[in-house]
């Protein structure tokens, strides 16, 4: 079959499902569900067929032309888009299946599934884009789908606020990205990604190094918004106001992944700008540490996972910015799989035990949900980087990339973040698996021992993936066409050591029988306060940025009312009053007319007499 046709089917099947579900199946959720799942399945099959076909030449079609802008629409088939496209399709489909169980009792199922279709379309369209503007369009649509899904339960004010926040914060990043893209268009006149990457004729040849740095920094602003990097990260933890399957989708293969993917897509251009790379390294390292520390003190399982996503995205960007293209992409893929798994497990607990609080999940007998718990442990192990689970291999690559780069502060930062990751992940696992023994006995809640099959099947599949996909590194490297060096086991030892240290500390704090279950950080009061207040970033936005915007708007509103309106009203009133004054001359009193006439005549007489 023609690869173009397959790609069109892969990307547009979810869109068709979305449109059909929304237009025709509003009252028939079963059909809506069926058609969206069918669309998801088509995407999975299509993307796997494309992957099996291997890399090939991109295809392009003219979309429209205006003046000197010609927008092409097309698909790119290299190792990056093929591998990640398949991951997106598979995870999206897993989550759609999972949602059958999770959303079984929601009255607005059609809307939910339709939006999942929209989301799949936007993300797949983004991944295969050959044109930067096309990619930007899908990038925005990914944001739109996230807005609708985060705010799915829109009657909850917190969900509505979270959706708005996500949209606005990513919009702030998009402004940077948009400006960057327009500068690119204005300087080279094309949007075609392979052509832009060309070292001889592409962007590097067309722009001065200074201009290239500005453009790449602007694009990175967009990536910061989408991939939730400091200081534009605060929307992501709030985004868990959406249903849990949405969080699973948002945090793994879609939305946040788009930013990192864009970086990988434009990797050669970023590599050409040293200043940008250093900026990215500083920001991503700081983000990785900041978010890990917050995850240490959160009690809500979804918030812990949300902050862990931010920190792992930081890892990916560190790797990419340090020149570890393979490491970054590998971690993007492994993270997508195990993070989707972790969120699905969290959702399973929440669905079954009706609480988000980790202690509470433990107390209500979370560990008795066997498959979910297996998934949580494997996924958690992968996140922490326990060998031989997926996250271990990709993190190992990241450490190697950073050591090549050889700037100590980033290496140290990465180790610190990895240590904290192991610590908070196992804090989560211990809190759920080893609840405090003194509390009430686990009580049966819900029905049965675990979630229904539609929820468990995706969990099982992703558990396998999280356990095994780490061994696929060699295959991925061949697909991406990069040299992958072999790491001696001795060079892996520090990484393993740091992870084990984190696990050990977590066991000391939360796992062992005599554990205080408060965490060592409570001993350092100021830090604990800082971490529980999320480093005051949210507070800064609410109290400073939001207020300044409001003041500016208020000021302009005053200008409008007191300045423009009142002055125009005043002008109008002035005309009226001039009129009424002049009208007095026409009073109709003969006496006053006579008085004026006499006065005028006397003045005339005096004037003539004096002459």
């Amino acid at each position: 079959m023609n690869p173009t046709a397959i790609t069109v089917a892969t990307t547009f099947a979810p869109f068709l499902a979305f449109a059909v579900a929304l237009l025709f199946f509003m009252k028939r959720p079963v059909l809506a569900k069926a058609i969206v799942l069918l669309g998801g399945l088509v995407s999975v099959v299509g993307s796997l067929m494309l992957l099996a076909g291997g890399p090939r030449e991109p295809v392009r079609f003219l979309w429209f032309a205006s003046g000197d802008v010609a927008l092409r629409f097309g698909f790119l088939y290299d190792g990056l888009s093929l591998s990640f496209g398949a991951v997106v399709a598979v995870i999206t489909f897993c989550i759609q299946v999972y949602s059958i169980g999770y959303m079984a009792h929601d009255p607005a199922k059609t809307r939910f599934f339709a939006m999942l279709g929209l989301f799949g379309w936007a993300m797949l369209g983004f991944v295969y884009s050959v044109d930067l503007l096309q990619a930007f369009i899908f990038w925005e649509l990914v944001g739109l789908a996230s807005f609708f899904l985060i705010g799915f339960w829109y009657e909850k004010p917190s969900a509505a606020a979270a959706a708005k926040k996500a949209f606005i914060m990513t919009r702030v990043g998009d402004v940077g990205l948009f400006i960057g893209i327009l500068i690119i268009l204005n300087s080279v006149g094309i949007f075609d990604i392979p052509a832009l990457l060309d070292p001889e004729t592409g962007l590097r040849a067309a722009l001065s190094p200074g201009m290239l740095t500005i453009v790449m920094l602007l694009i990175f602003v967009g990536i910061m918004g989408k991939s939730a990097q400091f200081p534009l990260h605060t929307w992501l933890p709030d985004a868990m106001e959406g249903p849990t399957p949405v969080s699973a989708l948002l945090h793994s293969a879609t939305m946040v992944a788009a930013g990192v993917y864009l970086f990988a897509r434009l990797n050669p251009l970023f590599m050409a700008s040293e200043t940008t790379l250093l900026t990215v390294l500083y920001i991503s390292t700081f983000t990785a540490i900041l978010s890990s520390t917050v995850a240490m003190v959160e009690r809500d399982i979804k918030k812990v996972l949300a902050y862990s996503s931010i920190s792992q995205l930081g890892f990916m960007l560190m790797a990419l910015a340090a020149g570890g293209f393979f490491a970054g992409v590998f971690h993007l893929i492994t993270h997508a799989l195990f993070k989707a798994l972790l969120f699905l497990c969290a959702g399973s607990y929440i669905h079954h035990l009706e609480t988000n609080d980790m202690e509470e999940i433990g107390r209500r007998g979370g560990r008795k949900m066997r498959w979910t718990t297996v998934g949580l442990v494997i996924g958690g192990g992968a996140l922490a980087g326990i060998p031989p689970l997926a996250g271990f291999f990709s993190k190992e690559e990241i450490f190697a990339a950073l050591s090549h780069r050889g700037i100590l502060i980033f290496q140290a930062g990465a180790f610190a973040a990895a240590f904290l990751t192991a610590y908070y992940t196992f804090r989560m696992i211990f809190l759920i698996l080893l609840p405090a023994r003194t509390e009430e006995p686990a009580h049966a809640h819900g029905h049965g021992n675990d979630s229904p099959l539609p929820m468990l099947a995706p969990i099982m599949l992703l558990t396998l993936a999280a356990a095994g996909v780490g061994f696929g590194g060699g295959w991925l490297a061949r697909l991406l066409d990069v040299e992958r060096e072999h790491h001696a086991i001795t060079s892996m030892l520090p990484a393993i050591g740091i992870v084990l240290a984190g696990v050990a500390l977590a066991w000391w704090d939360f796992g062992r029988r005599a554990a205080t279950r408060t965490g060592f950080i409570t001993a350092v009061k100021p830090l604990h306060t800082l971490f529980t207040n999320k480093w005051y970033v949210d507070a800064f936005y609410a109290n400073v940025v939001a207020r300044l915007t409001d003041m500016l708007a208020g000021l302009l509103q005053t200008v409008e009312n007191k300045g423009f309106d009142d002055s125009f009203d005043g002008a109008a009133r002035g005309v009226v009053e001039t009129g009424s004054f002049t009208a007095k001359l026409q009073s109709g009193w003969v006496q006053s007319y006579a008085a004026v006439a006499i006065a005028m005549m006397s003045i005339l007489g005096i004037y003539l007499g004096l002459r």
């Binding site: 003046g67 009657e155 509505a160 327009l182 509103q557």
Partner: protein, 490 residues
């Protein structure tokens, strides 16, 4: 000359007007149907013009020339170029949707439709005439009915709004009229023909002197900052279909006037003044967005958003004149006129519906309306997202083109107006959050949602927004040749 289709487009509403005037006021249903049929016919003929227009050949087509007053050179010269076709289509769509939106009106139905149709006739005339005299004639016909329409069928300080609107627009005309006469005299050709005048080379001094009068005269109607004050108040006070025509089409007359008269006849003046007027336009874009953020009334939000979005049109025109990215800028400006027209029509049509049901348009009165009126709210959300410049909806493309031209011509302005996108998103989402999301207010539980045929006019406009969002080519191919002709001069 063939089939005089443009005259027929003009005749449809004119005949409808005459029929309605002759109908007893009690025969409400007949009046409505007359208006509906005439608008449907105009729409059909506009589609015919759209399809029949040879975009590849470009230039003026469907020409009809009848001498009117030969002694002073007034000619009944009707013809459209790509811009004219696009705007004819816009007017027909808004007219058609507007008639259907006001179907349930019960107060003085006959007079209402008569004035509304008069307004539409004026707008059609402006978009198709190639004679300066008729241009001004139709222009005034379009403007004047606003006064009774707001005064009689309006709400919220309607006397004030109607008076304010009238004063502003007449002040604009007062600037415009002498400028147009000066152009006629200075050329000394003894003709009002725009085609002939466009070929005349006016002296640079004359152009620089006259241009600001003409620009500001038209600009007032286009909601030009800082002379925009009439527009939000007028939007708010007018009944919904009038707001639709007013924001959707009438404001476009101003921008069209700038393009078809000022820029075309006085290119040197345009170049001279462009930096200043571009600055005003950009200020309007940012200013409108910020002020919209503070509004508590639905219609005021949309009113100020119109100031902001029309700023993009005017900015596009001025950037086009500057000559660095002319084609993109002109394309953006004209496309934005069309997209904004459809979008605001959709906004007002939906807000009008909510207002008719709830008798409130204060945002804070609502909350959770999404559960009570899902269809109306969904449609409003589509319009809102279009306003926020989401790709997939028509407004994305013109905004992008104007941003592009701005980044190329005056990067500082480009950065400012792109950054204003955040503010735009803020005011749009603020309305969503406060009025549509959150727990439903039980007070509105009994409100009826859009039903059956009521969905139709709104769905039509949504479809148009989506169509041009996905197929911008349909618009750019149409207006491209006119743009190339215009841009070649700069």
């Amino acid at each position: 000359m063939g089939f005089p289709v443009l005259t027929f487009i003009l005749l449809c509403p004119t005949l409808a007007l005459l029929v309605i005037m002759a109908t007893p006021a009690s025969r409400v249903s007949f009046v409505r149907w007359t208006a509906a049929v005439s608008s449907a016919l105009s729409l059909a003929l506009s589609v015919f013009v759209w399809l029949g227009y040879d975009a590849a050949a470009g230039g003026l087509q469907f020409e009809e020339i009848v001498p009117w007053v030969p002694s002073v050179g007034i000619t009944y010269h009707m013809a459209v170029d790509g811009y004219g076709v696009a705007l004819l289509m816009l007017n027909s769509l808004v007219y058609f949707a507007g008639v259907l939106t006001m179907w349930d009106l019960s107060l003085r139905v006959k007079e209402y439709f008569a004035f509304m149709i008069l307004l539409v006739i004026g707008v059609y005339g402006v978009f198709m005439t190639q004679d300066l005299f008729f241009f001004f004639f139709f222009y005034e016909i379009a403007v004047v009915p606003m006064y009774p329409l707001i005064l009689i069928w309006g709400s919220t300080r309607k006397e004030y709004a109607a008076m304010k609107l009238m004063l502003f627009l007449l002040a604009g005309s007062a600037l415009l009229f002498p400028a147009l006469l000066a152009i006629y005299h200075e050329a000394g050709l003894g003709t009002f023909s725009l085609v002939a005048l466009a070929q005349h080379e006016f002296t640079r001094e004359f152009q620089i002197f006259v241009y600001p009068f003409a620009y500001v005269g038209f600009g007032v109607l286009a909601g030009m900052f800082p002379f925009h004050g009439w527009s939000p108040t007028g939007h708010v006070a007018a009944p919904s279909a009038v707001s639709m025509l007013h924001a959707g089409v009438l404001m476009k007359l101003g921008a069209f006037g700038v393009l078809a008269v000022c820029v075309r006849l006085l290119p040197d003046g345009a170049v001279y003044w462009a930096p200043i007027f571009a600055g005003f336009a950009a200020a309007g874009v940012v200013y409108g967005a910020f002020v919209a953020l503070k509004q508590t009334d639905f219609k005021f939000v949309i009113g100020f958003s119109s100031v902001s979005h029309m700023g993009i049109v005017l900015l596009g025109i001025n950037l086009g004149v500057m000559g660095i990215a002319s084609a993109d800028a002109f394309n953006g400006a004209v496309f934005q006129m069309f997209a904004h027209g459809i979008m605001t029509a959709l906004f007002f049509s939906t807000v009008g519906f909510i207002y008719d049901r709830a008798h409130s348009k204060t945002i804070a009165d609502f909350g959770g309306l999404g559960s009570q009126m899902p269809r109306a709210v969904s449609i409003f959300i589509v319009a809102g997202l279009c306003g926020a410049g989401l790709p997939g909806l028509a407004s994305f493309w013109p905004e992008m083109l104007v941003f592009l031209a701005a980044m190329k011509t005056v990067p500082f302005i480009g950065v400012c107006i792109i950054a204003a996108l955040v503010v735009t998103a803020l005011y749009v989402l603020r309305v969503f959050e406060q009025a549509f999301f959150g727990p439903p207010n039980p007070k509105w539980n009994s409100l009826r949602d859009l039903e059956g045929w009521e969905v139709f006019p709104r769905a039509l406009l949504v479809a148009v927004l989506l169509f041009f969002g996905f197929a911008p080519r349909a618009m750019l191919d149409l207006i491209g040749s006119s743009t190339n002709l215009l841009a070649a001069g700069f």
